[in-house]
């Protein structure tokens, strides 16, 4: 019976490695951490590994809601999203396939084992860094490649794929026992909590995008467009882009921005892609 779990658990471990912030294979952070590392994508991949895409995506969706604002600034992190996503969704898929269980496990794993392994890995990498430094000092090209790429990737593979594989392969029985022995009220609390915890992710997101209190007006506008007007997310993104463009347009006129008009063209090519289409609508 356990042999059927071997391959899915192994694949989940490998995906956990690929979705890490430090893996280079998928254009660094862009394809690794930002794509494979997101719980929504993890749900699809773990679903594929376990042969039940629908259940995987439902678990991924629930976990993604909590981790919507997983932020990593300056290398510091408060919950390790890749261990959380793959450990939590993987274990949930191996046991009940219940999204609420996936959320609870993901938070537990991310806040404990995930952080421990993450910080341990950061410490090991300091060792490779000092060797890479020496290689630079002695013009040793091979040493730079080995200590920047090869050894760190071997360490991180061992620290990610192996624990996640073991947790799913051997943790299934424990999780099943726990789920079957907890009283109904605890299950109910976990269900409700799973619905509320996305508020934490969104609160963290608000703390970076809301720069002053007047921004709360725009937050309320977004909330009301969905809650009252029942618009789809895509429609709201377009309305928000229009509002943002109007905001930009107004601020340019008041702040005599005509003098650096040339720069604005170059600049908008760098960071701004969405606002381009609004031009056609307005003029």
């Amino acid at each position: 019976m356990n042999s059927s779990l071997f391959l899915p658990a192994l694949l989940t471990g490998v995906f956990c490695y690929l979705g890490a912030i430090e893996t280079p294979w998928l254009f660094g952070m862009s394809g690794g951490y930002y794509i494979v590392g997101r719980p929504l994508v993890a749900g699809l991949l773990v679903g594929l590994a376990f042969g039940d895409i629908k259940a995987g995506i439902l678990c991924g969706l629930a976990v993604q809601a909590v981790f919507i604002a997983n932020l990593s600034t300056g290398g510091a992190t408060n919950s390790e999203i890749t261990y959380a996503a793959y450990g939590g969704i993987g274990l949930a898929m191996a046991t009940t396939q219940n999204p609420a269980i996936a959320v609870t496990l993901a938070i537990l794993i991310g806040q404990t084992f995930g952080l421990i392994f993450y910080n341990f890995r950061m410490a090991i990498y300091s060792y490779w860094n000092s060797r890479a430094d020496k290689a630079a000092e002695t013009n040793n090209d091979r040493g730079i490649v080995l200590n920047h790429l090869v050894y760190p990737q071997i360490s991180t593979f061992i620290l990610r794929a192996v624990p996640v594989f073991l947790a799913i392969y051997f943790g299934k029985g424990l999780v099943n026992w726990l789920i079957n022995s907890v009283p109904d009220i605890v299950t109910h609390i976990i269900q409700v909590l799973g619905g509320v915890l996305p508020a934490l992710g969104i609160a963290l997101l608000m703390s970076i995008v809301i720069k002053n209190k007047t921004h709360l007006i725009f937050f309320m506008a977004g909330f009301v467009l969905l809650a009252f007007a029942k618009l789809s997310m895509i429609a709201i993104v377009f309305i928000a882009a229009l509002v943002a463009y109007l905001y930009y347009y107004a601020s340019t006129n008041h702040g005599n921005g005509s003098s650096d008009g040339g720069k604005s063209v170059a600049d908008s090519n760098v960071v701004n892609t969405d606002d381009e289409y609004e031009d056609d609508d307005l003029f």
Partner: protein, 276 residues
Amino acid sequence: MKNAVTSNSEPLTKHELNEIWYRWGFTQLSSMSYEKLQAHAWAYSYLPFAKKYYANDPDKKRRLLKRHSMFYNTEPQTGQLINGIVASLEEQIALGKNVSEEMPVNIKATLMGPLAGIGDSVIQGIIVPILLSIGMSLAAGGSPLGPLFYILTYGIIGPTISYIAFHSGYRLGVNAIDVIVGENSKRITDAFNILGVMVVGALAANTIVLKTIAKVPLGGKSQSLETVLNGIFPGLLPLAVVLFGWWLVSAKQLSATKIILVLTVIVTIGCLIGFF
């Protein structure tokens, strides 16, 4: 100097430039520690450059590799702008132009903070959550369309930002700094911020699920409180929770772990008294 004849005096080709771009783009964090973060990706991405210009000058090569093994950390995608600027400076140094070897180091140290600030708030704070929230709405009911949408859109946007940033940095050289810290760039970031705030509001209404099962006496018979609340303001409970969470984060400066504990206590009490 007659010796200079042996060294290469050709500018970087498009291919060599792209090599610097993708070497750093792929491996920027592959040896990250708290001590060095993205430091060694620089030395690694300049290895072919060193081979081209400093094959006969081990001392210059050592200085190049050393000045690109120092602590460095920025947003890896928008931060490619700095790599572009530095590539243009390193090229001028290698070609013997009047640029000091401290210049690239100073540029890296000065710009990594501002670009991390802009990049993190635009990418982690706005682009990724927007694409994810669209993906999540498409994934409702377990449809693979949601994750696929996200993989495809971010898979194009992330590397594209990186590529454009690198090549604009190289093209503009040090002039790019005006573009980053200029007034117009602040206005664009502000406008993006508005976009982000509105979408986050919608996201809050879409993802937080909190319903009360309490009943209230209304007109002689008891009615579900949830129905009453929905009649006044749909999503009032989720809104209250998210504003409370935001207050804990921004005004009370609580850590995420503590907020999880606070929410757990509130939900547990609410469940035990039969409110949730």
